[in-house]
């Protein structure tokens, strides 16, 4: 019932493409960071977006999530992403430490 080979295209080529893309993205990240193209806050945003793209590529292709049924894709990703997003509430207090901290 779960003959994986039959479910999706098993071409080797796509994995090489993804690998290449990941290496190039890493290269871009390193160059951006080393050349300090942006102010730190923007740098963080850019790096995080690039990292998310890389993560998405790994999850979708290497971890085959692209080829799983939609319910699994949705449930797993929604749970993890939601959990991680709500932790951003912490940062309101991290900023407070800067403002109210000891002189």
């Amino acid at each position: 019932m779960h003959n994986i080979a039959a479910i999706h295209d098993e071409s080797k080529a796509q994995y090489y493409w993804v690998w290449g893309a990941l290496l190039i993205l890493t290269g871009i990240e390193v160059v951006l960071a080393y050349e300090q193209f942006f102010t730190p806050v923007h740098m963080l945003e850019v790096l995080m977006v690039l990292s998310l793209v890389k993560a998405a590529l790994i999850i979708a292709y290497f971890m085959h999530l692209k080829f799983e049924i939609p319910l699994m894709r949705f449930m797993l990703m929604a749970a993890i992403v939601a959990c991680l997003c709500i932790m951003c509430i912490f940062f309101a207090d991290a900023v407070r430490v800067v403002k109210l901290g000891l002189p």
């Binding site: 407070r96 430490v97 109210l100 901290g101 000891l102």
Partner: protein, 268 residues
């Protein structure tokens, strides 16, 4: 059995509600400007929740008695529920709960976001294992520097909060184990802690705020009645948590000035 259950559930409901309504044990009399607001919000919440409590427990007792098993002939209503009812009570409870919440948020906002009134009395409260110390900046209006290395709880007073005598601004700072504040003037309170988290709790002022090490938290409140009020620590801070106790003395402006002057004189 049904009757016994009915009696028990109704008895519990009645007794529990009675002691709330009779206010046998209740908040101490409010002595700050915000106390009336908080008490009002409490009363509204209390009435609404009380109605729900009595209704739900009453219905529970009634149902188990009324629909007790009286033999196979007793009809049972075969039903999987009622979507309309579900929607009605979902919406009703949502409106009730969220509405209640919004009502109370104004007090919270004014206490935390508005700056203290002009002319508020600056006081710094420091919590340490296991005592409260209160510091007044003196005539220059500026707190002197404190240093963690200089803190010595056993010495008490200025040494306990680690006041650095080499700083000019600290020359006129007053440190007291009792909190004196004038009535009808807002207190601009700065909260600090030296070792672990403490929590300054003044029930009569309806005031509570954790003092967190590494942070200086600013709060303000306005006492509207003179008198002596007790301060307790509300956050577990170690083995002496139970005896971390202080006094708040709300006095008239003249008495307050006199007290400050005498402390200044003592220091010279």
């Amino acid at each position: 059995m049904g009757l016994a259950l009915l009696a028990l559930i109704w008895l519990i409901t009645f007794v529990s509600t009675y002691f709330f309504v009779a206010k046998t044990w209740w908040f101490p009399v409010g002595a700050s400007a915000s106390a009336a607001w908080i008490d009002h919000q409490f009363a509204v919440t209390f009435i609404l929740m009380g109605i729900v409590f009595v209704a739900a427990q009453g219905a529970l007792g009634l149902f188990v008695w009324q629909y007790r098993d009286r033999g196979a002939t007793q009809p049972v209503h075969y039903s999987h529920g009622n979507a309309k009812l579900e929607i009605i009570w979902t919406v009703l409870t949502a409106v009730l709960f969220i509405g209640l919440n919004l009502m109370g948020s104004r007090v919270w906002a004014t206490e935390r976001f508005d700056p203290p009134e002009v002319g508020a009395v600056p006081v710094e409260a420091t919590g340490l294992q296991f005592a409260w110390y209160f510091r007044y900046p003196g005539p220059d209006g500026k707190y002197g520097r404190t240093k963690a290395e200089l803190e010595d709880a056993s010495a008490g007073g200025e040494s306990a909060v680690g006041l650095d005598p080499s700083d000019a601004a600290s020359k006129d700072d007053i440190v007291s184990g009792t909190m004196y504040i004038p009535v009808n003037r807002e207190v601009d309170l700065a909260l600090r802690a030296q070792d672990v988290i403490h929590s300054l709790f003044i029930p009569s002022m309806r005031f509570k705020q954790d003092a967190v090490p590494g942070l200086i938290i600013h709060m303000h409140f306005k006492p509207i009645q003179t008198g002596d009020y007790e301060i307790a620590c509300a956050e577990l801070c170690g083995l002496g948590h139970y005896k971390m106790h202080g006094m708040l003395k709300v006095v008239s402006q003249e008495e307050f000035d006199k007290w400050l002057a005498s402390k200044e004189a003592e220091k010279q």
